[in-house]
Amino acid sequence: MNRKEKPFLNLLGSEGKPGIFAGKAEIYVEGSPAYALNLLTCGGIKVRDVGIDGDKMRLSITEAELPLAEKILGENDRTYRVVKAGGIRRRFPEFLKRYALIAGILISCAFTCVYGTLVAEVEIRGNALVSEEVIAAAVSEYVETPSLFAYPDLESIEKAVLRCDGVAYAKVTREGKRIIVEVVEELPETEVTDTQSPVPLLARESGVITRIVTLRGSAVVECGDSVKAGDVMIAPYVSAGENEPVPVRAMGIVEAKVTRSEQIEYADEEAFTERAAADIEARKEEFCASLAEYEIFVGSSFNVKKLDKSITVSIYYEVITRIS
């Protein structure tokens, strides 16, 4: 018999189980165990895990050697039964034991990768005048929330946000599952008043001045003066001692007693003839109520004119109102 030089530890260490995909066949052999073992090993087959199971001998060989083993056992009238060890039923517990941790890690990695693609919310910062709804609508053109596997084009979102009215600058970043939109708003336009051009303050209506407050310029009228519409009430300059007057845009508050009149025609004679006096009183109260815009209700007079089919009421009243 040829002696093969084989490292001792190779065989001692080979009792470890083969990998799950290594072909392995299990055989049950009846009859004399020693005879069957000698047959197989003399035929060049390496047997493993030989044990006695009841009245049968159990042994393992590689699936590659199975045809040869079957041939040897068959030629020598051995009764045997082959149990395939590669079935999922046998391998599954081993698979679970060995690969559950790896599978767990892989599943965790996969979950982390999928979670990284989630866009759960859009956060808008820096807006005070532009509403969040407007900006959110611009963002939603490119990404809906929540959504998985979302890779929105941040540059396009920036451009969409910039198109919103009142947005001067926009920066869009992604932090985890959030899209952060930072905006800088346009400043509201401020009204620039020309205070240098010499413009006088004129009366809008005719009346008798009851109060005048000069904010800028020089007053040319005083309380008790009568003015007509278009008269200058505050001149457009300011005197500073002996120096030349400085031109300014005149500004101030001028109130005056103004007389106004109104005619009201009631068309239904029958309905209003008898009640004319009462209607006039009602109208007076109505005027009083509707004159809330005026500061003081000074007085009124009524002139009732009866026509064929209607009554015309002329009302005269005085109010103190602002004419500047």
Partner: protein, 81 residues
């Protein structure tokens, strides 16, 4: 371990055992008998009897043999003894 015979080298064969759990035989000539309690292995010029409990032939080919189990004794007999 109370081995009845401590066999180290028998002619061309080599027998190694460790910790009462394994016996490794190189250059065997086949198995005479096998059971979980006693395994008799033919070697050149005699036999080696391994006794114990739950004996299993872990690996075996035409030249080498590894027996594992709770080994209580290994006995070598020369032909004619």
């Amino acid at each position: 371990m109370g081995f009845s015979v401590a066999v180290k080298e028998i002619m061309l064969d080599k027998i190694t055992f460790s910790a009462g759990e394994k016996v490794f035989i190189e250059g065997h000539r086949g198995i005479s008998s096998y059971s979980p309690e006693e395994t008799v292995v033919r070697i050149t010029g005699g036999t080696v009897t391994i006794r114990g409990e739950a004996l299993e032939i872990c690996e075996m080919n035409a030249d080498e043999l590894l027996v594992t189990g709770r080994i209580s004794g290994v006995e070598r007999r020369k032909k004619g003894e």
